[in-house]
């Protein structure tokens, strides 16, 4: 499906979500509550079949944490960017998608490690790179007097 068709299809499919063409790829912004269901649909519906999760990451915006999923369909070769904003910035919580795409298991651990986003129902949510008592370094308000030199 080319982008316009895909956009129309997605807009019809996910009425609660906001579908808009981004700078490069189509973007869907979903409510945090709908995330898991949307993920299942994106992978499961044969016309979409977004089975390859390229990249999962989080961005610390001033109001909320945003989790960004770059998805591709191996069969149809179309791409979409799924986004979800957490309700709370300080103690963000999102449903896990690691049961939909297995690779998300470790990508989510990375996001938890660096941004402190907790993924509900994640089977093994531990820190990946850093010590347990280290802060969440990719947050904008992270301070480390010893290791980070401000210029």
């Amino acid at each position: 499906m080319i982008n316009e068709e895909l956009q129309a299809y997605l807009a019809g499919k996910f009425s609660n979500a906001e579908v808009k063409p981004g700078k490069q790829y189509l973007e869907i912004l979903v409510q945090a509550a709908d995330l898991h269901e949307t993920a299942v649909q994106l992978k499961g519906v044969p016309e979409l079949s977004f089975d390859y999760l390229i990249c999962l990451t989080g961005v610390d915006y001033p109001e909320s944490m945003q989790i960004v999923y770059h998805l591709e369909s191996v069969k149809h070769r179309h791409m979409v960017v799924l986004k979800v904003n957490t309700a709370d910035r300080v103690d963000p919580k999102v449903d896990t998608v690691s049961d939909v795409w297995q690779t998300a298991k470790y990508h989510e651990r990375e996001v938890y490690d660096l941004l402190g986003v907790k993924f509900n129902h994640h089977t093994d949510l531990r820190r990946l790179f850093l010590d347990d008592d280290y802060g969440f370094p990719l947050r904008k308000d992270f301070k480390d007097e010893v290791r980070i030199v401000e210029r």
Partner: protein, 377 residues
């Protein structure tokens, strides 16, 4: 020894308790500081849990404090074997965001450099693969041939591994006058050496026995775990970004995306070997036709990206590399995320190696071609 003490004998088989072995962080075959917590029963591997982060250097955080052209030199330090591809990914991402069209010459140079890096990386992978399986001589043969590529890099870019050659809008320097001659000499020589690689290792009956029919990865698993590069293509996962979202001069050249369906260790090995021939083929098409022109477009002194999010995928030697830049319009990026191929590939290891022997674990790990800074970033 306490974990191995208890032996329970049942009627049909002797059952020994499982025990844990830490492979790494300092272990010869983890190629760096990767720690695998391996659950073994005798020689059999039951479960592998990778522990990463020993050389996590916080490159993503560092990127938030420096300007866009400066980000590129940090990407050298992630996957140091495909440094140029990483550089190019960031450069392409910035160019896309700024809507800058680079000259044809730059595209050609970048593509040749990409393929040379890929060759160098695969050569190192080949020799390390042999070393992991106990054939130490391959290590030196691979390094011997890789030296020629590194010399080419050094002559043109000024460095052997941390190239920092792509800059936003082009490349750092024009190619050296000797560049074309040297690349052609190298191709001629390496085409003679590649069959030797096959005779020494690929055809060897011990090597075949060691790699055939172990470490199966199905297509579904490859996609679900995001295993890309030759490792994913060995399972039939068509994931070559050069084909699907071509960049630089890749739309202009003829090449094949090598695919296989068997998905075992030998298939992954064979695909990488074939990719070397393919890379030589790509370079041969481009090296004589580098168009004249500028080697970089003039960029502003301070590069500022428009507000928004940009994603660029490239194919490195290990698989798909992605750069995700969030810009708030300032001269520093707001957030940079590197999607590294090694990260996704590593965590499929448990899927592939569980149920095999320790020796197989080493073989499987070396066909994944892990580079630890690429995983830890």
């Amino acid at each position: 020894m306490s974990e191995t003490k208890e032996i329970i004998i049942t009627s049909d088989k002797i059952h020994t308790d499982e025990y844990l072995v830490n492979m790494g962080p300092q272990h010869p075959s983890t190629h760096g500081v990767l720690r695998l917590l391996v659950r073994l029963e005798g020689e059999m591997v039951h479960n592998i849990q990778p522990h990463v982060g020993y050389i996590h250097s916080g490159i993503e955080k560092m990127c938030e404090a420096i300007s866009y052209p400066q980000v590129i030199h940090l990407t050298d330090r992630m996957d140091y074997l495909s440094a140029h591809m990483n550089n190019e990914a960031v450069a392409l991402c910035i160019e896309n965001a700024l809507q800058v069209e680079v000259p044809e010459r730059v595209k050609y140079i970048r593509t040749i450099m990409d393929e040379l890096s890929r060759l160098a990386s695969h050569q190192l992978w080949w020799c390390v693969m042999g070393m992991d399986l106990g054939a130490l001589t391959t290590f030196f043969y691979g390094l011997r041939d890789r030296e020629h590529i590194l010399d080419i890099f050094e002559e043109t870019c000024g460095a052997r591994m941390t190239l920092n050659y792509s800059v936003p809008g082009g490349v750092m320097f024009d190619i050296h006058p000797n560049f074309q001659k040297r690349v052609k000499e190298f191709i001629k020589e390496f085409r003679k050496k590649l069959p030797e690689y096959d005779q020494l290792l690929t055809g060897n009956v011990i090597f075949q026995e060691r790699t055939n029919d172990i470490g199966y990865l199905s297509l579904e698993d490859a996609i679900a775990w995001g295993v890309t590069g030759p490792s994913g293509r060995g399972s039939g996962f068509s994931c070559d970004v050069r084909k699907h979202q071509p960049y630089s001069a890749y739309p202009l050249v003829q090449f094949e995306e090598k695919l296989a369906t068997k998905g075992d260790t030998f298939t992954r090995y064979r695909l990488r070997m074939e990719e070397m021939y393919e890379s030589l083929h790509i370079i041969e098409q481009l090296i004589d036709n580098i168009p004249e022109g500028d080697y970089a477009v003039k960029m502003k002194g301070v590069v500022k990206l428009p507000e928004g999010e940009f994603y660029q995928r490239v194919e490195t030697a290990r698989g798909e590399f992605g750069v995700y830049i969030v810009s708030d319009g300032k001269k520093n990026p707001y957030r940079v995320k590197f999607r590294s191929p090694g990260f996704s590939n590593l965590f499929a290891l448990n899927k592939m190696a569980a149920g095999h022997k320790i020796a197989d674990l080493v073989a499987i790990m070396s066909t994944l071609d892990l580079v630890i800074p690429d995983i830890d970033r």
